[in-house]
């Protein structure tokens, strides 16, 4: 403390209290309402204090909705997204930073550009590509005239078709195509001392050995940070899982939760059950934040530098 600034400290405390109230208020109301019955809601409106119906409501989420299986989907999507992003980002950043290649700058720019236009913007055409991942190949064959030749030789042009819609791969792949991880690893590699590389070279380490024995152990924290960050972003995705999955059993939990809200404004929906669903769906990521907050904060800060 530089000097005594009581007025400022009191103001700061009030601000922080208000901020915490803003964050926790909706969460508390969710929890309180999730533990009341539908009849209570109809009689009294929103619940300011918790009741004893939470397990009842939660049990209905587990028996009457598809949220249990959708939670497994979310888990699979978030986990594979995080793993794939970690591995692919690490490899590409390694190539860009540690090899004498002329196209390093171009490759990095191409990867980094993905941050600017998230999948929510390009959803219409990403959907089209996912509905047939070979469509670019087909188009290429058509444009180059190769297909004409093939048609002459074999009687029919090549039309490959493979839809990844409504598969786990299709749910994950477009989300992996995102440059934050590469950016994060590149920044980290650039902070490592050059002598490390020289020493490893002098000891006779080749590219593969250098990557596995030196870079990988040093990057442990970056991996953890990126893993937490991408896991959370995979879990909370909404628009892409919504369009990429066509059956309830393939949807993620967040999409399933949103589907519980009725479309029309008619009667009062069964909010206690829906709020119990919101609690259950948010439990995994919130638990993760509580346990791994250090890495999350680190990831957020690193992804900025």
């Amino acid at each position: 403390m530089i000097e005594n600034a009581r007025s400022l400290n009191i103001a700061a405390s009030v601000i922080l209290l208000a901020g915490m109230l803003y964050i926790l208020g909706p969460l508390y109301l969710t929890l309180a309402t999730a533990s009341q019955s539908y009849e209570f809601l109809l009689r009294n409106g929103l619940a300011w204090y918790p009741g004893d119906q939470f397990f009842n409501n939660a049990a209905r989420i587990f028996t009457e909705t598809r949220i249990p299986i959708q939670m497994l989907n979310s888990l699979a999507v978030a986990f594979s997204l995080a793993i794939a992003t970690c591995i692919l980002s690490f490899l590409s950043a390694y190539a860009i930073v540690y090899f004498r290649i002329r196209w390093a700058g171009v490759a990095f720019a191409l990867i980094l550009a993905t941050i600017m236009l998230p999948v929510d913007i390009r959803v219409i055409t990403t959907y089209q590509v996912a509905s047939n991942v070979f469509s670019p190949v087909n188009a290429l064959l058509d444009v180059t005239g190769l297909n004409g030749l093939i048609a002459k030789a074999f009687g029919a042009p090549v039309q490959l078709e493979l839809s990844v819609l409504n598969t786990h791969f299709g749910l994950i792949a477009p989300l992996v195509a995102h440059g934050t991880g590469t950016f994060l690893f590149r920044q980290f590699f650039l902070t490592l001392p050059k002598d490390l590389f020289k020493a490893a070279r002098m000891d006779g380490a080749g590219p593969v050995r250098f990557m596995f024995d030196i870079l990988l152990p040093l990057s442990r924290t970056s991996f953890a940070a990126l893993f937490v960050l991408t896991f959370l972003s995979g879990w909370i995705q909404y628009l892409w899982p919504l369009v990429a999955s066509s059956t309830p059993d393939m949807q993620t939990a967040v999409v399933g939760l949103a589907r519980l809200l009725p479309d029309s404004d008619g009667e009062v929906p069964d909010f206690p059950m829906i709020m119990a669903g919101a609690v259950i769906v948010s439990l995994v990521p919130l638990l993760m934040i509580a346990l791994l907050q250090r890495y999350l904060v680190q990831g957020l800060v690193l992804s900025e530098k």
């Binding site: 901020g19 109809l42 692919l88 913007i121 957020l300």
Partner: protein
Amino acid sequence: MTSESTLFSNRWLPVLLVAPFMLLIVLFFYVPIFQAFYWSFFLEQPFGGGSMFVGLDNFARVLSDREFWQAGGRTLVFMVTASSLAVLIPLILAVAADRKIRLSLPARNVLVWPKGVAGASIGVVFAFVFNPFVGILAPLNKAFPGIWAPGIDGTDAFITLIAAHVWSGIPFNFVILLAGLQSIPRTMQQAAAMDGAGPWRRIFDVQLPLIMPQLFLTLVLEFTESVTSAFALIDTITHGGPGGATTLLVYKIYKDGFSGYDLSGAATQTAILMVFVILLTAAQFVFLGRRINYER
């Protein structure tokens, strides 16, 4: 190659390392973007019914559509109000949390929580909390009927969206701005204090100018974020209503493409929106980025 070199000189290994990631990026990022622009010049039939080159007809159709301009205007209003609030509120909180007070530690913990709550989940929660019949404002509605009616009044619906957007935007902006504040050397604060600058004065003359890079970054990211991430909130809280009052462009594109099967129209609007986002980012870098001093 000499042992002095700080780089490997293998030729094919780096290609192999980048290839899988690049393949995914090309397939699911560049091809869709290319296709959006390509389709905007063609009339696409749904269900693969073939396509026809129509030149600028799609653009003429979209640009003469009143709903497109309304959705665009709403997107702009949402972008400006929601993202300035989503930077300003975390900024105030970060300045407060940067002080050594008892609440600072719990606040730093709690303010990161929304990162784990999906936009759609908080949308479901806010749809309930601000429900005019059973939500927190229901008592107010009993006293003054019709004062809070997000189902009828577009402004009320818009306010709900902004409140939910700011709520989920707090963690990232807060963490970035707080990290910026904490990297200011304490000696600078002390020097300013020695020169007679009071604590309030120091906030505006020392702290804020020194975290300009972080402020700039959060603002750039927040602008893009507010254009895109509003979808989950709209789809859960307002469904674009009432009467289209909360139909932002992302939502309109989704509706046109997936419910209306107007692929060309949706692709054209996507192309316009993408150009807008790219120009916006570029403009921010040219006009704001240049004025920022990154030196410490």
